[in-house]
């Protein structure tokens, strides 16, 4: 079993890249791999709590919480959050707020890194 770090910059709603990342993380965790998820740029919109579920939009809140319960480590960029008005207390419980150096350190310790650096 290996370690996979996934970094994403894409918004919660839009490109569906976060849907992809979460599904990938889920599948990898179910196979016994270790997965780290780094949310930066507009992807920090995923870390905001109280997302209301609409069938029209990506709604990843529940599955994210479920995966964190199974060991998914989620880190959300501190400055990216702050610039968007998302405070520490606004985060989904269990998400760690930190800087990109933690993502790089995790990446260096991972077998695979998939960085999705687009909107």
């Amino acid at each position: 079993m290996g370690t996979l770090s996934i970094g994403v910059f894409s918004s919660l709603v839009g490109s569906m890249n976060l849907d992809f990342a979460i599904r990938l993380a889920q599948t990898a965790i179910n196979k016994g791999h270790t997965v780290n998820l780094w949310l930066s740029g507009n992807a920090t919109t995923l870390s905001k709590d109280k997302q209301k579920e609409f069938k029209d939009y990506s709604h990843l809140d529940k599955i994210l919480r479920d995966l964190m319960g199974k060991g998914l480590s989620v880190v959300s960029c501190e400055a990216c959050n702050q610039s968007r008005g998302i405070q520490k207390e606004d985060l989904i419980g269990g998400i760690n707020r930190a800087s990109m150096d933690l993502y790089l350190a995790n990446s260096a310790q991972s077998d695979r890194v998939l960085h999705i650096g687009v909107e």
Binding site: M16, F20, T27, K31, V113
Partner: protein
């Protein structure tokens, strides 16, 4: 190197894609990249499928989301699910790049 390239869009990334080579190269058509396996623009299959010595994969979920099915996929491209995708990137390819 053993490189997995995620081809994620319909336009704008060909020029970089065309220049990347690797000892072992997997091209994963995901997101709007899937159109390259199913459309014949101006009557021709996408030139991105002509890349030498590459293995092509397409993500079934992303294909079907956009209204296409397995039988419309170019014969050079293998339809895979998330399950296969995880095995391929964890076992076969060592470096991953999202275009």
């Amino acid at each position: 190197m053993r490189l997995a390239l995620f081809y994620s869009d319909l336009r704008g990334i060909e020029s970089i894609y065309n220049r990347i080579t690797a000892h072992e190269l997997g091209v994963f058509l995901v997101s709007n990249g899937i159109y390259h396996a199913v459309l014949k623009e101006n009557g021709k299959p996408s030139p991105i499928l002509d890349k030498k010595d590459a293995t092509f994969y397409i993500l079934k979920e992303d294909l079907e989301t956009r209204g296409f099915s397995d039988n419309e996929v170019d014969k050079r491209v293998k339809v895979i699910a998330y399950d296969d995708l995880v095995d391929l990137i964890m076992d076969k390819y060592e470096k991953l790049a999202w275009l």
